[in-house]
Assembly symmetry: C2
Homo-oligomer: 205 residues x 2
DNA sequence: TCTCAATCGTTCTAAATTTCACGAATCATT
DNA sequence: AATGATTCGTGAAATTTAGAACGATTGAGA
């Protein structure tokens, strides 16, 4: 089986989200054209993405919503749940803990870490906040997959180093700065500033 | 002047952020190799991106930090400030209002809108929360450039429609769902779920 | 002054991605 | 049963993006 590129994976996750919405509305059949309208991607691209996995569509009919969703999910996730740990239980960290997209399973935040006495021991949306010193132990025990950086940017490098030491290989960095990590560690940066500015600069009116 | 692709723009914004960091450390010269180490991008790509604008580097020396930053900024932003309005002053909305990257100028949130009586009239990090009904008026008066959706996904389409009616042409959608808008309106989706899952699926161990 | 090493800018090549075009399959309709 | 319209799946072309190679320029040091 050939490797699926990251961009394709992102699109497939979008398809899955869209299919879940359709199922809620009891729409059990869907065509690539309809998915195209709902996602903003071209119908050909959608069919091609889907064909990476296996053909489940019927000409003239489209795809069976549930079957397509399962096919995509089985391939990407094998029905696993992704376990996150969060560093920094401030404003942004709390908002992430309460993000409604996680509620539907697939993603579970297993622990949050902070240095503030006032936050340690509390629960935010059901997730306990621990002192950062306990991170290595908890990360290992819970087999956490991804670590999220939501601390002030002055501490983000330090936290990243600590994450790597604790055995994490995947990091999402919400701080507006770059971090350096060993090559084996994957980082995804989510700098709101850059996102907003790039939208603005993209097509000045 | 040829059109600069969106991916390039995003990288250029990353260069600007990096250059600002260098200036803070009083490093007034920088090579593409150094920028490469700091950003994780290849040095050739960086030089190529920079050459889109105009040549400001000196062989054997590198770039003058301040000059390069100004060259990039002038092209992208013409030193303008981007004006945002925020819909939804809940957990995520508040976190966005407090995002530290905005503090350095360039981005300014001019108003927040919410339906909750308890929030209307309050100020969050200096930004006043207004009832949504006042959105059209305030958006027009402030010449807001970008609208941010940080409301529950059940209301995101409704809010998007309202934004378009109010004259916004650029939307960042933090809700975990797609929205449909006229072709002239640009949407950027920020679904944390998809971001985290795509990182997870990208290179399963 | 001359040589050398470092770094820029650019052209050319390769890879990846998107778009196009079209045959094959399926159901509706006559 | 035959025709037609719709939609899937896919091979090929076109476009975009990344990467490699290399000449050109600059300052350092002999």
């Amino acid at each position: 089986m050939k490797k699926i590129p990251r961009k394709t994976i992102t699109r497939v996750l979008l398809y899955i989200r869209t299919l879940e919405g359709l199922l809620k509305e009891k729409r059990y059949l869907v065509s690539s054209k309809q998915l195209s309208e709902m996602t903003g991607l071209s119908d050909v691209k959608i069919r091609k993405d889907i064909s990476n996995f296996k053909s489940v569509g019927k000409p003239r009919i489209g795809y069976r919503t549930l079957e397509l969703k399962k096919t995509l999910q089985d391939f990407l996730l094998q029905s696993n749940t992704v376990h996150l740990v969060l560093f920094g239980a401030g404003n942004l960290g709390s908002a992430i803990l309460k993000y409604p997209g996680f509620q539907q399973g697939k993603i579970r935040v297993v622990a949050a870490f902070d240095v503030s006495r006032g936050k340690i021991g509390r629960k935010i949306n059901g997730v306990r906040v621990y002192p950062v010193e306990r991170a290595p132990e908890i990360i290992k025990r819970s087999h956490a997959d991804i670590g999220i950086i939501a601390v002030p940017k002055e501490h983000s490098q330090e936290v990243a180093d600590y994450m790597v030491l604790s055995g994490l290989h995947r990091i999402v960095n919400f701080a507006p700065c770059s971090i350096s990590v060993p090559a084996k560690v994957q980082v995804r940066n989510m700098d709101f500033t850059i996102e907003f500015l790039s939208l603005f600069c993209d097509s000045p009116k």
